[in-house]
Amino acid sequence: MANKENGMNEAEHVVVRFTGDSGDGMQLVGNLFSDSTAFAGNDFATFPDYPSEIRAPQGTVAGVSGFQIHFGHQAIYTSGDLADVLVSMNPAPLKKNLSTVKPGATIIVDVDAFTEKALKRAGYDSNPLTDGSLDGYNLVEAPITSATEKTVMELGIEKKMASKFRNVFALGIVFYIFNRDLKTADEFFEKKFAKKPLLVEANKKVLRVGANYADTIEALSSHRINVHASELEKGRYRNIIGNTATAWGILAAMERSGRSLFLGSYPITPATSILEELAKWKSLGVKTFQAEDEIAGIVSSIGSSFAGAFAVTSTSGPGLALKSEAIGLAVITELPIVIIDVQRGGPSTGLPTKTEQSDLLQAMWGRNGESPVVVLAANSPSNSFYMAFEAARIAMEHMTPVILLSDGYIGNGSEVFKIPKVADLPKINPPIAQANDPDYQPYARDERLVRKWAIPGTPGLEHRIGGLEKEDIYGNVSYEALNHQKMTELREKKVRNIANFIPLQEVYGDTTGDLLVVNWGSTYGASHEAVDELRKEGKKIGMVNLNYIHPMPRNVAEIFAQYKKIIVPELNLGQLVKILKVEFPQFSYHQYNKVQGVPFTKSELVNAFKNLL
C-alpha cells in the first residue's frame, strides 16, 4: 500500500476473510463480495472453510465458518495466505483467525458480540479488544448487532430477526473499504427475495447503513484500498467453483463426443456437488444414478459404458478404495470410464472436509493384478473444466478408465473463469464399431492398440466380454500362458502409448536454472506465486505442473535435466516423488511436504525453495 490516490491505498492484490458462526451467513456475503469483485474487473479466487458438523456449536472455535477471497490487479493463483481484511462476527472466529492475519491489517469485529459469556465460550481469558493483543492492527469495533437491529426495526421487522441481516451490515463496511458499487448486491437481493419486497428493502438498507457507518469512522478513512482492474484477456467471464467446473467439463465432453452421459455415484464429501450439479441438467439428456454405494456407482457406470454411454463416476478417497476392484473390470474389458476423485484428508474417514493430495498412489496402483489406468490431475477450479474434458477425451478415444484427481481445495474453491465456446473444444471421436462390420473382433486393435466399442443395439456385432483374461483379438476367455503375457503387455503399452496423444509438458519461469519446482494438483497456485516471487528476486527457477501423471508427457525427463535441483511440494508424505523415482530414477528429488488439511501458503514455499538456492 504505497501511493495514495483519491484517498485510497493502492494494492496489487488483497485477501479478505469473512468469519463467523456457521449460521452467520458468511458464505453468502463472501459470494456477494466475489460478485462485486468480478464486476470491479479483478481476477480472484475464493475458498470457503466450514466445520464438518452441519450446525456446529455456536460461538465456539470448532463452529467457525469462513470465506476467503483473494483478488488482484494481476492473475491470481490461490485464495491467498494472510488476510488484509478480517471480518469477525464474534470472539471465536477472531481467536481462530488472528494468527493468519497480516500485521497492520484491518480487523472488523461486531463489538456487541464480545460479551463476557461469548469470550468465555470462545476460550478467551481476557477481552482481546482491550487487553492489547490487537495493538498492531487497525481495529474497527463496529456495533453491528445493535445498529442492524435498529435499522430493521425501523422497517417493522422484529428485533429477533435482525440476526439474519448482521452479515449484510458487515458486507457494507467491506464494500466501503474497497469502494464497491452496491448495485451488485442490490440485484442479488431483488432476485432472491423477488416475492418478499420487505426483505429486499431491509437488506439494501442494512447494506447502506453499514457502508455509511464505515464512512463516518476514522479508523477506516485512511485504510481504504484500491485494486486496479486486472488486464485479463478479452472475453466473457464468470466465477466458477471447482466441482462445478469439473461437472461442466464432463458435460462439454458429452456434447463433443455425441455420447449420452451416465453418472453413477454415491454422495461423499467433498465430491457430492459434482453429482448434485449433474443431476440438474436433465435438459441436456444427462442420466444421474445415485447408487446404493460406491461399488454400484462405478459398476452401473461400467454397465452404461458397455451400453454405449459416456460413463462417469465421482467420489472421494474412501470411495475410490471401494471402487478398486471394479476399476480392474474396466481395465480388462477396456471400456471407457472417467473416475473422479476429489481427495480429502486420510487415512480412513480421516478429515473429510479438509484437503489433501494423498490418493495419488492409490490411483496409480490401488488394484489387484497389473492394472494400468490413466491418471490426470486438475490444478485449479477453472482448470478442472479442461482436465475433466481431457479425461473424457482420453477415456473414450483410447477405451480406458481414466482417474481424474481433484481435491477439497480445488473442488470447493472458486476463481474467475473465461467462458469457452463448446464448439472450440476438440471433437471427441470414440472408435465405435460399425453395424455388421465383417472384420469386427472384440479385441482387435488399431495402431494405437485401441479396441473398438461395439454397442448393444448394433446388428451383427454381438459379443461377450468379462473379467476373465481375454484371448487376443477374439476376446474369448483364455487361460493360455503366452496369451496372458501378451495381453498384460498390451494393456500396459496401450496406456503408456497415450503419452503420444497428450500435450508436451510446458515450463513456467526459467527453462533452465538452479531449481525446478515439480507441482501437481492444487498446490499449483502457491507454487506459482512462490516461483514468481523468487524470480523477482533474481533466482533462476522454473516450474512444471503435471496435469498428466500417468502416462507423463514425453519431454519431462528432458526438462528435469535442465536444472541443478528438483523439488516436489506435496500435501502428503511424498507420493509424486515416489512415482518420479520409479519413472526417472536418474534424478534426485527434494521433497517439501505438509499434511495438515490445509493448502500451502506462498511464504512457506518461498522459504522451502530458498533453502535449496
Binding site: 460478485d35 468480478a38 464486476f39 474487473g41 485479463l232 478479452k234 472475453g235 466473457r236 467471464y237 464468470r238 466465477n239 461442466w248 458435460l251 462439454a252 458429452m254 456434447e255 449420452s260 451416465f262 453413477g264 441438467w281 436433465k282 435438459s283 441436456l284 439428456g285 444427462v286 442420466k287 454405494d293 461399488i295 454400484a296 459398476v299 452401473s300 461400467i302 454397465g303 452404461s304 458397455f306 451400453a307 454405449g308 454411454a309 476392484e325 471394479a326 480392474g328 473390470l329 474389458t333 467462458i419 469457452p420 465456446k421 463448446v422 464448439a423 448393444p456 443395439g457 446388428p459 451383427g460 456385432l461 454381438e462 461377450r464 466380454i465 468379462g466 473379467g467 474369448n476 476367455v477
Partner: protein
C-alpha cells in the same frame, strides 16, 4: 399386471442363432444346462431383435451363462451383476436385459445390489440359479444353505438361518417374483416369458441342482415322484389347489396362517380354497406363499407376485423429455453462460 406387448413379427432368429460357439463347461448333469436350454428356446419368442438383447452376470458357475448366448453379453465381477445390468438398462432402455446369477452372487456379496434393483424396479429380468451352495469355489455354504448342513466351510454344520430369496425380494419391494424347477422346461420357458412381459424388475428363482456339491438340494419337493404332492403351481385368479389328485387346497386358518386342507374332508369345499391374487400390492399373503414349505405345506411355484408399479427408467426418460422442453438450458454453451457473467 403391467405388461409389455410382444411383437412376434420382429422375431428374426432361432434358438440356434442365439447359441454361441463356446464350449459349455458345466458339469454333466448340472441343472444349469437345462436352464440354459430353456432360455435359448425362449429368447426367439420375446419379440426382440438379437442385437437388442443383453445378458449380464456376476461370477459363479451360473454366471458363465452369457458366454453361451450369442447376443451381447457381459460376465461381470462377483456380486455386481445387478448394478451392471442397472447401468446397461438405464443407459439404453430399449434393450431386453437379462441378468443371470447364483445364490452366492446375488444373496451373499451381491445382496445389496439385489435388494436395490428390486426396490428401484428397473425393467430387467433376473434369473437366480439357486443351488444353495457355492459351486464355482467348490462347495462352501451360501446364504440359502439350510441350517445344519455340513459343507467345506461348515464342517460342524452351518449356524446361519438361510434367506428365502422370494421373501427377501418381497421385503425389498419386488414387483415380480416367480419360482420354478430346473427339471421342468415347459414351466421355465413360460415363466421366463411372463417375466419378460412384466414391466419392472422380474425375479425368477430357479431351484437348480448342483450335482457335485449339493446333489438333491431340492429333491424333497422337486423330484418328479413328489412334485405333485409337495409343490403347488400358483396361477393368478385361480384356486390354490394341488396334489396328485387335485384334492388339496390352501386356506387361511383362524390364526390367519396358511393351512393345507383336503377338499371333501371336514366339510371343506372348493369354495373355501384361497384364490391366488398375484397383483395385489399387499405383501402379506405373497410373503406367506413365498415362505411356505415342508413339512406341512407345499412349495409354491409359478408367478407368486406380479404387481404394477412405476419403472425407474421410464420415469427418468420422462423427466428428461420434460426438462428438454421446459428448461432454458438446451446446450452446454447455455449453461456456461447462465447466471452471473461479465465481459472484459
Amino acid at each position: 399386471m403391467s405388461e409389455k406387448t410382444i411383437n412376434v413379427n420382429e422375431v428374426t432368429f432361432t434358438k440356434k442363432d442365439v447359441t454361441s460357439d463356446q464350449m459349455v463347461k458345466w458339469c454333466p448333469g448340472c441343472g444349469d444346462h437345462a436352464i440354459l436350454n430353456s432360455f435359448l428356446k425362449m429368447l426367439p419368442q420375446i419379440g426382440k431383435k438379437r442385437e437388442d438383447i443383453a445378458v449380464l452376470s456376476g461370477i459363479g458357475c451360473s454366471s458363465r451363462f452369457p458366454y453361451y448366448v450369442n447376443t451381447y453379453g457381459f460376465h461381470g465381477i462377483h456380486g455386481r451383476a445387478a448394478a451392471l445390468a442397472s447401468g446397461t438398462k438405464i443407459a439404453n432402455p430399449n434393450l431386453s436385459v437379462w441378468m443371470v446369477s447364483g445364490d452366492g452372487d446375488s444373496l451373499a456379496i451381491g445382496g445389496n445390489h439385489f435388494i436395490h434393483v428390486l426396490r428401484r424396479n428397473i425393467d430387467i429380468n433376473i434369473l437366480l440359479l439357486n443351488n444353495k451352495i457355492y459351486g464355482l469355489t467348490k462347495g462352501q455354504y451360501s446364504p440359502t444353505t439350510p441350517m445344519g448342513k455340513i459343507t467345506k466351510t461348515s464342517p460342524q454344520g452351518t449356524i446361519e438361518h438361510p434367506f428365502n430369496p422370494g421373501e427377501l425380494a418381497i421385503g425389498a419391494e419386488a414387483t415380480f417374483f416367480a419360482r420354478t424347477l430346473d427339471n421342468n422346461p415347459k414351466m421355465m420357458t413360460e415363466i421366463m416369458l411372463e417375466a419378460e412381459k412384466h414391466k419392472g424388475t422380474s425375479l425368477i428363482e430357479f431351484m437348480q441342482n448342483c450335482v457335485i456339491f449339493y446333489n438333491g438340494a431340492h429333491a424333497y419337493f422337486a423330484d418328479r415322484e413328489f412334485r405333485a404332492e409337495r409343490t403347488i403351481l400358483l396361477k393368478h385368479g385361480e384356486k390354490m389347489i394341488y396334489g396328485k389328485n387335485n384334492d388339496k387346497g390352501l386356506i387361511l386358518d383362524e390364526t390367519n396362517h396358511i393351512k393345507s386342507v383336503v377338499i371333501g374332508e371336514n366339510g371343506i369345499t372348493e369354495d373355501d380354497i384361497l384364490v391366488h391374487n398375484a397383483t395385489t400390492n399387499d405383501p402379506g399373503l405373497h410373503m406367506m406363499l413365498a415362505t411356505m414349505g415342508a413339512p406341512d405345506l407345499p412349495v409354491a411355484l409359478g408367478v407368486i407376485r406380479s404387481v404394477e408399479s412405476r419403472v425407474y427408467e421410464d420415469q427418468l426418460e420422462e423427466i428428461i423429455s420434460d426438462a428438454k422442453v421446459n428448461s432454458k438450458i438446451k446446450t452446454v454453451d447455455d449453461l456456461l453462460n447462465s447466471g452471473n457473467t461479465w465481459e472484459i
